[in-house]
Symmetry: C2
Subunit: 715 residues, 2 copies
């Protein structure tokens, strides 16, 4: 892969940024905000940071988890704003051949016309967020390795079980700062969520994959839902008798928009970041993990394409998987490119060296021990990555492994079973086993395994498991004949064969004979052994990383900076400003787009097939009340330097007074590496301008009642 | 093809620009400049426009034709600056396997080391430019149609023959304003031109096809040559005894560069534009010619690719032709896209309607007659385009047609033969016949003809020639069997068979029998008939278009504007300013690039494989004396709104004082349609900043003697 060169020495010198340059980095826990109130005020915030400190109080309890993303209540009657792509399943669920609301969009004709969501769609309102560090670590203290890991796991499971009384509340334990702190989160689980307003696909997803990760964007990626509860005000399954949920708080949509330099902030549920990983982990990511990932995806893509060239069945059945492989390959390459461009390894190393020089005593000793554990994990290297892919990229081998593991776990009491194999997971497992059919052809799976196991064979002895050597041999020829024999002999290709074994496995009974099932026995045993080693290392990391975090917090404090915990799916707040982007020499992107760009991109072909009513409305030019006066046009999307990652989809963007000005939905391509490294020169988040939503709802696909409900002008 | 929508009515309203908006449009004849001196001065020109009026005097006689482009003398010793891509043949000619100067670049080690160019490379210095309208039209007046055409042709040939006495001077007659005026141009033909300094390919052609037509650019697209003459000062073939040519003038390279808004002007030899064509011709171009061209290229590309999929020989032999087809398809699509985006047809129509409303008398009558002739030509329609492609896109059918036509023409006295078939053209024809081999496979040619003749069969009767119907039938089945029989039977695939017939044809003797040769008889006869009709129409256009041009000049004068003649390969001057580009909503391109962009684009792979000495020099950052202070870096390329088209490659760009600040080498993609319509919002030209050349020659690949010769600092 042609890698970009790192920045030249002369330019890179300017990269060793002062603390000021980091002012915009941070996915803060709400509880931290009072500590950085001055910094927020300097950035332009006009509210009281203390009012943002409690996730269970207004305004932050208006921000909720919706499906796989974030959303916010925007009326006292449970009206909920999120992304079109977050609510896509709900839209799809209500679409019919005779009325395709994906393409046409949907406006409920009054509340009675609001449509139920797919049954597994949930809205989660945080009602409790309590520190339980002592409870989680009580049993673990004094232990190490696997025992430490198991003690933490067991304490967490206990806390969740105690918390989840009744079916209203879902509980979870959040691990903050890599084992330093734990929080018990209680969330009200709203199960009756309805579709209220969705723009047509060609507005909500204008540009689709082509524009994904791109700026300038022109997408109306929003949808309005409404949460309902039983007449008693408690969460309930869908019923026509249910009533709108009265949220504890809701956000007010702003009348005005933002301009370059204006303060902005965002609240949401970012998934995972790695910003506080060690320099050695950064180094491994850039030198080893990402290049290997790119290489193995390249090989898998080439293998599937080669088989598909002369085999129409493989082409059809592996089309979706091929697309996913290409997307993951692209992301890995983008992440690598970004980390190299930002010179992240060198900067992280310099930062860590300085931190370690300032660290003494027990923490210094624990950090040294942590580095050893990480080095061991690193030595496990590509092997673990390949084992994961062998299970996730196949259908029949994966089915066999899944069945065998289910059989083993099912022999234990439910509470002690590995996550993913408990009673509540059975429906999911059954779904996987049923769907295996549609995405399987023997020649396709053999081609994938030839790549993965071929690479596995090349690994040094220490990284391989003997059971895999025994099963697939040590040479390409042995592998080929093993795979031929396995796939000629297995009957798992028939759904009934898999489902009958599923019944046996969940009852912890022996599985009927089959070449793949027979193989799964020793392979799963080997996996369990590897898993034990991994959990032992993870236990040590859980025990030792808090020392690293303490040292980091102390080091940052000496620089006058606070430390936010790496993202872990809990509610975070980031703040910054509307900011243009200069991605390359002589190229400058303005931070606000207008409807002119919709017309420019329009080709009439998906995904640039702007609907006629939209084009007509743009041509009419009636933007009164929602226009951007400095541009003389209707704004569509805007760009900020807010700190986001996956999971922030649908996050509300607020102005200096806390009014809702935007809806987060994407980031630029240069931000792909931001999960590891925040580069202020290139990290941007992309938002729907609320004025675009208001204009669409007022002038293009009118919904005056909803505008009124949100306290907005209806024209 | 998905066409872009025209701009919306609201936006388009802003497009009906006042005369002021046209201030930057114009490829002016030098003789016109005194008339627009005030306009030039307002734009920022600080010199005397009268000094630019004579192409045979300084400074404009420093601007010369070089190869297929433009160049300028930059020292009193014949040192000549042009583009790397204009001089590419000379560089290639001197490259050897053991010393690849294309890749490595070349710096002559003193004058004795300057390398000869390929023998057909020429530099033309204009020494005479005289109006000969009366002489050209004397015999034509009173005639019409074909007779008018022949009279103009004959008068032109006579003037050229009288002018070209001896072998020093090449003469030509330029048709200005479509038959309104004629000029006899005398050019000194310098035949000994040597290579002096060429940067490595990865500098001179950094970005190659990927960056072609793109801004921001980062290319050092320049090369220095030197013209030599005999010791008597007269043009001579290469000889080691020759001496440097003392040009009548040379340009001074500037010490400083330009900034956004600064005045700039450019002199060069633009090839062909269509700006003053009628509204009906614009309409036909957008509705008919360009869509047909895109469609037929698409079909040809698909046909060659389909045959090549299973036929490696076809793939190899048709690779170059396929690339050319794709490039032409891309250009046609880009031209169409640009004309639609600029709403050119509607604007040209509104302009012409207003002009016609103001036109009376004989001119009004002649313009009406012209519109009739153009409508007739339009009716010939796709047929002529297909006949041209049938000859140009095939090898064996083209050879047969060429031989037959040569046989017919050779029966006439040489002076009366059609251009292209005279004695002096025989070498070229022989070359075509020899090279046919390398780009031919029967299945490839049949596939191409199946497309072209298949479309031809679909044309209405009036557009088809009976001879073609007779030869290829009226149905796909008939066509297929005709082609199979022809290509199974022909022996023209053997070079000897073509060359023996070439000897016969040039002696006007009968050609030995062959299926394709037999077919060529009636086909060429039909072509001659079509050619006669076309020349009759062209004669009428030559006779009638001057009325249209008179009306246009009068109409523009009433708007306070002068009219430049459409480009026709003669020396023109355009002026304007350094100007950024805002190509799309929220996207802005700065008008000056820096070396930072070279590093950003560098991948190590062609065409982004910046040489190590360049990357090292950028990293060192020693830009003293050639930097751009406002950017704190070394500039590379810059962008102006100057009016250019093909042929302007290598044109010198001058500042307000007439000093050489840039070298034109490309334009942006949005300018592809500028051959028909100058859209000031998007028309840009791309230049090498002379400071980049100076920096490379001072600090990266040093040539102090050459800098000194140009009167520039050597460090």
């Amino acid at each position: 892969m042609p890698c970009k060169r790192p920045l030249t020495a002369a330019l890179a010198a300017g990269l060793l940024l002062s603390a000021a340059a980091h002012a915009d980095e941070g996915m803060w826990l709400p509880g931290q905000l009072p500590d950085i109130a001055q910094q927020m005020r300097q950035a332009g915030f006009r509210g009281d940071a203390r009012a943002l400190a409690d996730v269970t109080r207004p305004p932050l309890n208006a921000v909720v988890r919706v499906g796989g993303g974030t959303g916010a209540f925007v009326s006292s009657d449970g009206l909920l704003l999120t992304n079109h792509h977050v609510a896509y399943g709900v839209i799809q669920y209500n679409s019919r051949p005779e009325r395709d609301i994906i393409d046409a969009g949907f406006i409920a004709d009054g509340r009675a016309d609001e449509r139920p969501s797919n049954p597994d769609f949930r809205v989660l309102v945080t009602v409790g967020f309590d520190r339980v560090t002592d409870e989680v670590l009580a049993e673990a203290r004094g232990l190490d390795g696997r025992a430490y890991y198991d003690a933490v796991e067991a304490a967490g499971k206990r806390l969740v079980a105690d918390c989840e009384q009744g079916d209203e509340v879902r509980c979870s334990v959040a691990n903050m700062d890599y084992g330093s702190d734990f929080y018990l989160i209680r969330q009200l689980e709203l199960r009756d969520v309805r579709l209220v307003y969705a723009p047509p696909r060609a507005i909500g997803n204008y540009g689709d994959e082509i524009d994904n990760f791109m700026w300038p964007r022109h997408s109306g990626d929003f949808t309005l839902l409404r949460a309902y509860v039983g007449r008693d005000g408690r969460p309930a399954d869908y019923s026509p008798d249910n009533v709108p949920y009265a949220p504890p708080a809701h956000l007010q949509v702003a009348r005005n928009g933002l301009h370059a330099g204006d303060y902005a902030m965002l609240a949401g549920y970012p998934g995972t970041t790695f910003r506080h990983r060690t320099a050695a982990e950064f180094d491994a990511q850039v030198r080893q993990v990402l290049p290997q990932r790119v290489a193995v995806f390249d090989a898998l893509i080439a293998a599937v394409e080669a088989v598909g060239r002369d085999d129409a069945e493989v082409r059809t059945r592996y089309a979706a998987q091929l697309q996913t492989l290409k997307n993951r390959r692209k992301r890995a390459a983008g992440e690598l490119e970004g980390l190299v461009r930002s010179d992240a390894v060198r900067q992280r190393r310099a930062d860590e060296d300085a931190m370690l020089a300032a660290t003494r005593g027990d923490d210094a000793r624990d950090i040294a021990a942590l580095q050893m554990v990480l080095a061991q994990g690193n030595a496990a290297g590509e092997g673990e990555q390949l084992l994961e892919l062998i299970a996730s990229q196949t259908q029949m081998l994966r089915s066999a492994l899944l069945l065998e593991r289910l059989r083993i776990e099912s022999a234990k009491p439910d509470a002690q079973r590995e996550r993913g194999y408990q009673q509540r997971d059975h429906a999911l497992i059954e779904g996987v086993l049923r769907q295996a059919q549609r995405r399987y052809a023997p020649e396709g799976e053999k081609a994938l395994l030839t790549v993965l196991l071929g690479r596995y064979q090349q690994l040094p002895d220490a990284q391989r498991l003997p059971a895999f050597d025994a099963a697939f041999g040590r040479t390409p020829a042995a592998l080929a004949s093993a795979l031929d024999a396995l796939y000629a002999g297995t009957t798992l290709g028939e759904e009934a064969q898999r489902l009958s074994r599923f019944e046996a496995a969940r009852a912890a009974q022996a599985l009927a004979d089959d070449p793949l099932v027979a193989l799964a026995g020793p392979l799963v045993a080997a996996q369990l052994q590897a898993e034990d080693a991994r959990k032992t290392r993870e236990g040590e990391q859980l025990r030792l990383r808090p020392a690293y975090m303490r040292a980091l917090v102390a080091w940052r404090a000496s620089q006058g900076r606070a430390v936010y915990p790496d993202a872990n799916g809990t509610l975070r707040v980031s703040f910054g400003r509307v900011e243009p982007l200069a991605p390359r020499d002589a190229v400058a992107y303005a931070p606000v787009t207008t409807v002119a760009g919709i017309v420019e991109k329009h080709t009439g072909q998906t995904p640039f097939d702007a609907p006629a009513p939209l084009l007509d409305a743009i041509a009419r030019g009636d933007f009164a009340g929602t226009d951007e006066p400095t541009l003389g046009s209707q704004p569509v999307n805007f760009l900020t330097n807010l700190d986001t990652t996956g999971g922030n989809s649908g996050s509300p963007v607020l102005d200096a007074r806390g009014e809702l000005v935007g809806l987060n939905f994407d980031s630029n391509w240069e931000s792909v590496s931001a999960s590891w490294w925040f580069d202020p020169r290139t990290k941007r988040a992309i938002h729907v301008d609320m004025r675009y939503m208001r204009w669409l709802m007022a002038k293009v696909y009118p919904a005056p009642a909803l505008l009124e409900e949100m306290g907005l002008p209806t024209r």
